[in-house]
Every structure is written in C-alpha cells, then in structure tokens.
C-alpha cells in the first residue's frame, strides 16, 4: 500500500474532485433561474484550492519526486501547472456566468444544464492538473482522455445551435483518432523499454534502436499535437473554436494547450531525451511550420474566433521553440513563462469576443468598428491583448517572446534559424492583430449605442488585463517561480 503521506501531497487533486462531486449535488437543489449559484460555489472552491497548492509550492520538492509507485509526480513542474489550471478554470467560469446570461437575454431563453456546465469545467480543471503531473504512460493516457471527453461535451454544449453540435462532433472524431494513434505509440514504447513508468523508461531508453523510438515518438506526437493544436494536427482548431461556446474556446486554447505542453515536455524531457535521439530537429521543424501555417491562415479571417484559433496555432509554434530549447539554461523556464503569460492575454481576448458575441450576436471583426466609442474600456483592453499577442512591449507577450527567443539562442547556434522564423512570424502577425485595433479605433460605429458590460465578466476581464500589463512591467516574481518549477530531471 502507498503510505498515507502520499495522500497529503494529493490534497489539491482531492479537493478538486470533491468540489466537482459537491457541485453535482448542489446543482440538484438550485432552481433553474439561479444556476449562477453553482458557478459561485465553483469559483469559491477553486480559489480555496489555491491554498493547498501554495502549500505544496512552499515545500521544496526535488525534481523527480513521485508518489503512488512512481506513477504521479509532485515536483515543482506539476505544482506550476496546478496553479495555471486552477486560475484558468476560475476565470473561464467567471466569464461563462455572464456569457450565458447575456446570450439568454438577447435570445430570450436560458441556457439548459448551466449547473452541469460549471461542474464539467471543474472536472476538466482537475483533468488538466492530472495531465501535468502524470509520470506513467497509462496515467498520461487516462488523464488526456479525461480532459478530452469533458471538452467534447463542453464544445457541443449549446444544444439548439447546429454549429456547436458540429464543433463537438469534429472535435470528438479528430480527438478520438488522435488518442488512438497516441495509444499505439505508447504500446510500442512499452514494448521497447518494458515499462510504462516514464522514469523507468528513462533508464532503459538508451538501448532502444533509434528508428523504433522515432516512430513511437511520432505516433505519440499525434496525441500531444492534437491537444496543443500543432500542425499537422491542427485542422480541428478553427472549426471547434468557432462553433463551441466562446468561454469553452478560451478554455481549450489556454487550459488544454498548457496541459498538453506539460505532458509533451515531461515525456520528451524525461523519457526520450536520455536516449540521445535528435528530437530537437523534429520539434524545431514542427514549430516553424506551425508558426507559418497559423499566421498565414489567420491573415484573411473575418471571424474573430477563427482568427484567434489560427493565432492559437501559431502560438503553439512559438511555445514549441521552448520545447526545442529544453535543456538549456532558459528553455524550460521560457516555456513556463510563455504559457503563464499567454493564459492571461488569450483568455482576455476570448472574453471580449464572448462579450461582443453575447451582446451583438456577431463574431465578425467588422462589427467591432467604433468599439472605442461604444465601450472605451473594452476597446482599450482588446488593444492591450492584441499588442500582447503580437509581442509588443510593455506587455506580457513581449516579455514571454523575448524569453523564449533568448532560450533558443542560448541553447544552441543551430536554433538561430528558428528564432529568425519566430521574428518574421511576429511581424506577419502584427498585420492581423493590429487590424482589430484599427477597426475598433479608426472605423466609425454602425450603431452608436453603448455596449453594456456585465459586472462579473468585467471583473474577469480586468484581472486578465491587469495581469497582462503587470507581467510585462514587473516579471521578476514569475521568473523566479518558473525557474524553480523548470527543473524536471533529478
């Protein structure tokens, strides 16, 4: 039996699981008109979950510390992603509450199963936490599937809306196929090394013939690539982001992506890297292709959610630079910083899209015309998020990109070309991000009526906005935190 002290290291997970179950119960006793109560309980519970997580961060955990027979990691890396997952889930729930209410007001209907929506989001958050900490192939597979399943449901949540159903179906078929391919990769890796534990695999992987290892890595990348929307496993992204409820799209582009990167990095850094296989070239190539494909396809988009989807693909490319640069002094740190900063400005951009969609019933960028007069605060925040997505100082986006480029330069001269590709792509992306700002500030509004900003969503927006600015101006605490969390190997 595992020692009881193992459970003490699992308090955040246990708390989240209990919270999800409690929410299912609370939902039963809350009337159809007051489903926001469930959301508030969820937000409260999630914020409380930060307390034990903080406690874990305080205790120094050596890299490579695991519980439950080596299947579950409790290192700083895992703790970092616990924070990320909990914060992202909280913000998304805050945004969803007003999104549903505002959409309902406009359409004269209420969202069905709203309580279950918050519950599923909390469970997805738990899945993200589990993904980032799994140190065993079986647990990796199970936790990825946990997140995928709830995400399929969340994407298809707007039942009366054919686009949402379609998003759910596409996401499901693509995701299930990608997981099956990934499982096949797992089975080959198991056969080659005789174990499913990443740390045991690490000891044996040096004896594995390179072609077989390459193929199993490639098969596994199908599953991870699907989660992080990396080219060529990105095709679902625009369709799902457009069709899914906007807060869910936000959650997918931040939460699943971050946890996907956590898994990818843990598997590659812990289990594959000791083999001496040249995975860096492969990752660098995928990174460059993702940046180009995402950015070039984002250029002609009129729909803000599709534009953000392609932007999400190109950002996956940027973050992959961090994976390629892993092992250097900054590689891992750069990746963590990027993911953390990216969370805030991407969530912010999606939240504004959610608000506009709920109020105006439109996702089209031309309908943002004159937003600076109709809602000055919103326009300012959106401009901030767009600048941050481009990577212009003094925003968090600039600092994140700077760090990740520095990581690649420091790691190896062979990655300089990748940095050049990254810089070129930042310039390309300027065009479509700034186009949004131009539309908001320079074009006249079609309808001068002011846009009401719901209170809760506004809170979530200002939190993301403040974080975007603060991390850009004073990044030191995040750097310290990420540096402590970045050590993966003992």
């Amino acid at each position: 039996m595992p020692p009881a002290s193992d459970l003490a290291l699992l308090v955040p997970e246990l708390w989240l699981a209990a919270l999800g179950l409690v929410l299912l119960g609370v939902d039963l006793f809350v009337g159809e008109q007051n489903k926001r109560t469930v959301g508030w309980v969820a937000v409260g519970g999630l914020l409380l979950a930060l307390v034990p997580t903080w406690g874990l961060a305080g205790a120094v955990h050596r890299p490579g510390t695991t519980v439950f027979f080596g299947s579950y990691a409790v290192d700083g890396f895992a703790v970092f992603f616990k924070f990320l997952a909990i914060i992202a889930t909280t913000l998304v729930i805050l945004a969803s509450m007003d999104y549903f209410r505002a959409s309902g007001d406009r359409q004269g209907s209420t969202q069905r199963f709203e309580g279950e929506f918050y519950t599923l989001l909390v469970f997805t958050g738990l899945g993200l936490v589990l993904m980032a900490a799994s140190a065993d192939l079986i647990l990796v597979a199970l936790s990825i599937e946990f997140v995928s399943l709830t995400s399929y449901v969340l994407a298809a949540y707007l039942k009366g809306n054919p686009k949402s159903n379609e998003a759910g179906l596409k996401y499901f078929l693509f995701g299930a196929a990608a997981s099956a391919v990934m499982f096949y990769g797992f089975s080959l890796l198991y056969g080659l090394t005789g174990s499913t534990s990443l740390y045991v695999i690490a000891e044996k992987v040096a004896t594995v013939p390179a072609p077989a290892l390459t193929v199993s890595l490639a098969l596994m990348l199908a599953g991870f690539g699907f989660k992080i929307s990396m080219v060529p496993f990105h095709q679902w992204t625009p369709d799902v982001y457009e069709g899914a409820p906007t807060p869910v799209a936000a959650f997918l582009s931040v939460g699943s992506k971050a946890a996907g990167f956590a898994v990818l990095l843990r598997v590659v850094a812990v289990a594959i890297a000791p083999s001496g296989l040249d995975y860096v070239t492969l990752i660098a190539g995928l990174s460059a292709v993702s940046m180009f494909v995402g950015n070039l396809l984002a250029l002609p988009q009129r729909n803000i959610k599709r534009m953000l989807a392609y932007s999400s693909i190109s950002h996956a490319g940027f973050i992959l630079i961090g994976v390629a640069a892993f092992g250097g002094a900054f590689g891992n740190t750069g990746l963590l910083i990027y993911l953390f900063a990216y969370m805030f400005f991407t969530l912010g951009a999606f939240f504004i899209a959610a608000l506009i969609e709920a109020r105006l019933g439109s996702d089209d960028i031309p309908d943002y015309a004159g937003l600076s007069q109709r809602a000055p605060g919103l326009a300012f925040l959106m401009a901030l998020f767009m600048l941050s997505l481009t990577g212009i100082p003094p925003t968090a986006g600039f600092f994140a990109k700077f760090y990740i480029f520095a990581a690649a330069i420091e790691r190896s001269p062979a990655l300089l070309w990748l940095v050049a590709v990254g810089v070129v792509n930042s310039v390309i992306s300027l065009y479509y991000y700034v186009n949004v700002i131009r539309t908001m500030y320079l074009l006249p509004p079609q309808d001068p009526a002011r846009i009401q900003e719901p209170a809760v969503l506004r809170t979530a927006l200002w939190v993301t906005g403040a974080a975007t600015l603060l991390l850009g101006l004073y990044p030191q605490p995040l750097i310290t935190f990420a540096r402590a969390a970045a050590l993966l190997l003992p």
């Binding site: 192939l137 079986i138 597979a141 199970l142 599937e145 399943l149 399929y152 449901v153 298809a156 039942k159 009366g160 054919p162 686009k163 159903n165 379609e166 998003a167 759910g168 179906l169 596409k170 499901f172 078929l173 299930a176 196929a177 997981s179 099956a180 391919v181 499982f183 096949y184 797992f186 089975s187 080959l188 198991y190 056969g191 005789g194 174990s195 499913t196 625009p238 369709d239 457009e242 069709g243 396809l297 988009q301 599709r306």
Partner: protein
C-alpha cells in the same frame, strides 16, 4: 509458440485498416467504428508485448484502454445522436457550417 512479430504485424495491419477508415470514409459512424478497430489493435499490441516481456503492465494498460473506448462510445454516440436530431444526417459532408 507463435513469435512476437506475428502478433505485432497483425496489430499493425488492424491499426492501418482503422487508419484508412478514419482518413478515407465520410460517415461519422464508420469513422467511429474505425477508431474502435485502432483501439483494438492497441490492445492486441499491449497484450502481446505483455507476454513477451512477462510483465503484467501491458495487460493493465488494456483495461484502461477499454475504459477509454467505452467512455468514448458513450460521449461520441451522444453527440452523433444530437447531430442527427438537429440535422437528420450523420454524413460529414453535410455537416459543414464551419468553413473558413
């Protein structure tokens, strides 16, 4: 004793058949069945390797693959039924509101 590569090749053939179904067919239910074939080939590979390595881990992995497959059926078929209700088709060509 039948050698390990025989089982692995059989698994790979089954996997490829599923892959062809996923990449070529257009009906959501057929694509879904092809995915089930792929998962079966994963199971076969795991069990064959489990015997070869004389370790139970492979067989345990199969249980979790089966859980995943079962759960996917539940959620996936629910989505397919819902699509059919709103659209009266499960053909992916007709499910095309989302185009860029």
């Amino acid at each position: 004793m039948v050698p390990l590569p025989a089982y692995l090749v059989l698994g790979a053939l089954l996997f490829s058949l599923g892959m062809i179904g996923v990449l070529v067919r257009r009906n959501a239910l057929i694509v879904f069945m092809s995915i089930e074939l792929m998962l079966n080939s994963v199971n076969l590979t795991f069990v064959a390797l489990s015997r070869h390595l004389a370790s139970m881990d492979g067989q345990l992995a199969v249980f979790f693959t089966i859980v995943v497959a079962g759960v996917e059926v539940v959620v996936g078929l629910a989505i397919i039924v819902e699509i059919f209700r709103s659209r009266a088709t499960v053909n992916l060509d007709d499910v095309d509101l989302l185009r860029g």
